[in-house]
């Protein structure tokens, strides 16, 4: 245990409580009693990682098994990293304070492309060879990853022994079971990986050969040693009864989302064409209000949190939301618990729901129209009309709200300057709707903030074929926005430089040749790319040049329907034909109804062998 080595470093770094564990709810076991140790690594700082629900779920799943021990690991901030390197402290897990290089599994959760260099940095701090091929025959440690990025993780291919595709609650344990058995039999790393590749949801990148055409596109992806042609994602067998954490590790130090979280539904019925999560997490499944309330109540009792949040892609799409809200409000109000509700949609934001939310302390409303004009909203299949947005804002204003935050994107397919100016026009209509009210709150005035992000085309969406706007195009559109917002004193618009979005686009649709670029970028000092104070686009440009590759090839090149994509050997339940159909409809600005209204034949039912919804009667949205 490294306690004595860590201690002298702690008082010289910011927020040392992040590096010493010991929190309520952290699981301690005796390593003599466990057969398999899993270091669950989050490739960002403690305050970000501790907010992640996926980590809490899988921590509970593994630790529920007495013979397995899952511990937490986060990326140290730069000051502590420097101290660790200076004093030869290897990366350790927060429960046992033991080096993770001695664990059986080093598993990362990867939810964002710009954390890739942190993964390399953490492996390096751990003292584990970065490249999979350098890890030798010994079975441990298996370096693995899961999370949403793993469905298009080719840029990470050289670093990982195996990747978990899809939902991990059951899959992770199956892989650990296999590992424990094979380790006892004295199997090699390679033998284990070949066997693991037979489990549905496991992708072993080293078992696939990739060849390229002269133009740099992929010629073929060829599986070896019996690995499947297509790796199909896993989903849990029954969502309502899947393991959920009964307690969380409750941190001492403040974290980004410091509250109890209950997942209410998984998947999304909407089919917004830009949204990867909306397709990745299909099929749509929801928990019953009874289960949600029971799980929330248990979690509050065991964590002592004063705030409860609901997690989903679109909470208001729960078919029994009002029942659920009544149940939750009954116990949260009695117990002085704040209830927060992210992910509400504009089009079904009813007065009844508003009244329920008004009973909860709220810090302003946020809506995501995503595009400024109806035409462009139809292109992206964001089925929200201007009337619905204005109606909702009016309800919110009447409820006493005076500030509304609107999220938009720029760089969407078919977008013109008029669509950009439409952002400000739409915001102005929201302002106008405020002044049309007879009774306005005195002393306060309305403020609309428009946050405009640069669009990043993602795999498994209908826009996976689209080039991202070039830097010049984005800069031009930002100027158009800046000019349009001038003189509107109740509207604020904000945007970022496009560099991070360009890198995100490159890594999101990259092939495994980018592993070399990642390594080069990290060697040049790239780390914490998601944090603007550390982001060094110039170093990334150098890394690409050193590897003889171009960012434009990955980010802003149109891709044809018959090109083989680096993620085509992943089966996420979504048919490519469906994505092509949707892309063609996007070009015509034709909407697709949401899944409850009509099945769009995305491919999910081919796997699940049953319709996602019963369509006998017209259901309310």
């Amino acid at each position: 245990m490294l306690f004595d080595k860590i201690e002298p470093l702690l008082l010289n770094v910011q927020k040392p409580a992040r590096y010493i564990g010991g929190e309520a709810g952290s699981v301690m076991k005796d390593k003599k009693d466990v057969k398999c140790r899993f270091a669950f690594c989050f490739p960002d700082r403690y305050d970000v990682g501790m907010s992640n629900l996926g980590m809490k779920i899988l921590y509970a799943c593994i630790n529920n098994r007495p013979e397995y021990w899952c511990e937490r690991v986060f990326a140290p901030d730069r000051d502590f990293e420097a101290a660790m390197r200076e004093h030869d402290v290897p990366l350790y897990a927060l429960e046992s304070l033991e080096p993770i290089r001695d664990f059986d599994f080093i598993g990362f959760t990867v939810g964002y492309e710009l954390c890739y260099t942190n993964i390399l940095n953490m492996l390096d701090l751990a003292g584990v060879p970065l490249l999979q091929k350098d890890r030798g025959d010994a079975i441990a440690p298996i370096v693995c990853a899961g999370g949403s990025c793993c469905c298009h993780a080719e840029p990470l291919a050289d670093f990982f022994d195996l990747l978990f595709i899809g939902e991990g609650e059951e899959l992770n344990l199956e892989v650990m079971d296999l590992y424990t058995r094979m380790k006892e039999e004295g199997a090699t790393r390679q033998a284990f990986l070949r066997a693991a590749a037979q489990i549905e949801g496991v992708y072993v990148p080293s078992l696939y050969d990739v060849s390229y055409n002269a133009d740099g596109t992929i010629a073929a992806v060829t599986p070896k040693s019996g690995a499947p042609e297509k790796v199909r994602k896993r989903i849990v067998s029954d969502f309502d009864s899947v393991t959920v954490p009964k307690e969380f590790v409750v941190p001492f130090a403040e974290i980004v989302h410091d509250r109890a979280v209950t997942e209410v539904l998984r998947g999304c019925i909407r089919g917004c064409r830009f949204c990867q999560a909306g397709f990745l997490y299909r099929p749509f499944r929801e928990k019953s209000p009874e289960v949600i309330c029971e799980q929330a109540r248990t979690l509050i009792a065991n964590t002592g949190y004063e705030e409860l949040s609901l997690c989903s892609l679109s909470t208001s799409d729960h078919s029994r939301i009002e029942e659920m809200m009544d149940g939750l409000l009954t116990f949260t109000e009695d117990a002085h618990i704040n209830l927060s509700l992210p992910s509400l949609r504009v089009d079904n934001f009813s007065t009844a729901l508003m009244n329920r939310i008004r009973r909860v302390r709220s810090s302003g409303l946020t809506f995501a129209p995503e595009a400024g004009t109806q035409r462009l909203r139809d292109v992206i299949n964001k089925n929200v009309t201007e009337e619905e947005l204005l109606r909702t804002c009016k309800i919110a204003f009447q409820g006493g709200q005076t500030s509304v935050k609107l999220y938009f994107m720029m760089g969407l397919p078919t977008e013109t300057d008029d669509d950009i100016r439409g952002i400000v026009e739409l915001a102005q209509k929201v302002v106008d709707s405020y002044f049309e009210m007879d009774e306005r709150p005195r002393g306060k005035s309305v403020q609309i903030s428009c946050s405009v992000a640069t669009f990043v085309p993602k795999p498994f969406t209908p826009f996976e074929f689209h080039p991202q706007d070039t830097r010049e195009m984005i800069m031009h559109k930002q100027k158009v926005l800046e000019d349009a917002v001038k003189g509107h004193k109740r509207i604020r618009a904000s945007w970022h430089t496009p560099d991070t979005s360009i890198l995100e686009a490159v890594l999101a649709r990259g092939d495994r040749r980018l592993s070399a670029v990642l390594l080069e970028a990290w060697k040049r000092g790239c780390v914490f790319d998601a944090w603007s104070e550390y982001f060094r686009f110039d170093l990334w440009e150098e890394a690409f040049a050193a590897c003889g590759l171009e960012m434009e090839f990955y980010a802003s090149r149109p891709r044809s329907y018959d090109e083989i994509f680096p993620w085509d050997h992943m089966d996420l339940y979504i048919d490519k034909e469906f994505l092509i159909r949707e892309n063609e409809k996007a070009k015509q600005a034709v909407c697709t109804p949401h899944c409850r209204k009509q099945c769009a034949n995305c491919g999910v039912t081919k796997v699940t062998k049953k319709p996602c919804f019963s369509y006998q009667k017209e259901e309310n949205a």
Binding site: F3, E7, P8, L10, L11, K15, P16, A17, Y19, I20, G21, G22, E23, A24, V250, F252, A253, E254, I300, A301, N302, T303, G304, Y305, E306, A335, H336
Partner: protein
């Protein structure tokens, strides 16, 4: 409603919990333990918890104080048992009693400080350096306060109760002014000392522990 003064310890991993974080940690512990604590009234009711004297980050202690009020039938002893069951092992209540003294009665605190020698430094040299340092007629340092900075004479503030040379370090027992009006952190003295060390003498980690919280008459704050 029963007013309670709990004495708790803060050791090992728990000594890195900052004062602000400690407040949140305890509030959550009360909820987990289902101990009926009195809530403040008003627009934003919150559990009433009071820590009369903050402890510096990194200091251990076996004598920290926390005041709260029990709202209901539960006994103090039961409350303590329930809290200890849900608190981390390095942060545990030691005893509970009805408060006797007022918070403003706090006047001093005793500390044990162990300063390690750096590699190559002998303990007797460190001891000699300390003796010379503390023999100065005054030790003036700048202290940050809410209103800005003020000069403090640490020589006049600190009372050295014991000095001992260890195998690889120096062991001091100090009494410092503490409380709401004047509060002097012993780290100030240690920082001043290490800043004035001769070049050939180096120090390592400081192990600090609060031993007691005292009133003006030097009796324990209870």
């Amino acid at each position: 409603m029963t007013p309670v003064r709990a004495t708790f310890e803060k050791r090992r991993r728990a000594k890195y919990i900052s004062h602000l974080d400690l407040m949140r940690c305890m509030q959550r512990a009360f909820r987990r333990a289902e101990v009926p604590i009195w809530f403040t009234e008003g627009f934003n009711p919150h559990a009433y918890l009071m820590f009369p004297l903050a402890l510096s980050l990194g200091y251990e202690s076996g004598c920290e104080c926390m005041d709260f009020r029990l709202d209901g039938e539960m006994s103090m002893q039961t409350a303590m048992q329930r809290l200890n069951a849900v608190l981390p092992e390095d942060l545990q209540l030691l005893h509970v009693a009805a408060p006797v003294r007022k918070h403003t009665d706090i006047a001093f605190a005793d500390y044990r400080l162990c300063l390690d020698c750096a590699e190559g430094t002998k303990a007797e040299d460190l001891r000699a350096a300390w003796d010379a340092f503390f023999a100065q007629p005054e030790i003036l340092v700048e202290k940050k306060t809410k209103r800005g900075t003020a000069m403090v004479d640490l020589k006049a503030s600190a009372e050295v109760l014991m000095t001992q040379t260890l195998e690889d370090g120096l062991w001091l027992k100090l009494r410092m002014p503490a409380g709401t009006s004047v509060n002097v952190n012993p780290s100030l003295l240690m920082d001043a000392f290490t800043a004035q060390l001769p070049e050939n003498i180096g120090t390592g980690m400081l192990h600090a522990e609060r031993l007691a919280i005292l009133c003006a008459d030097k009796t324990e704050f209870v």
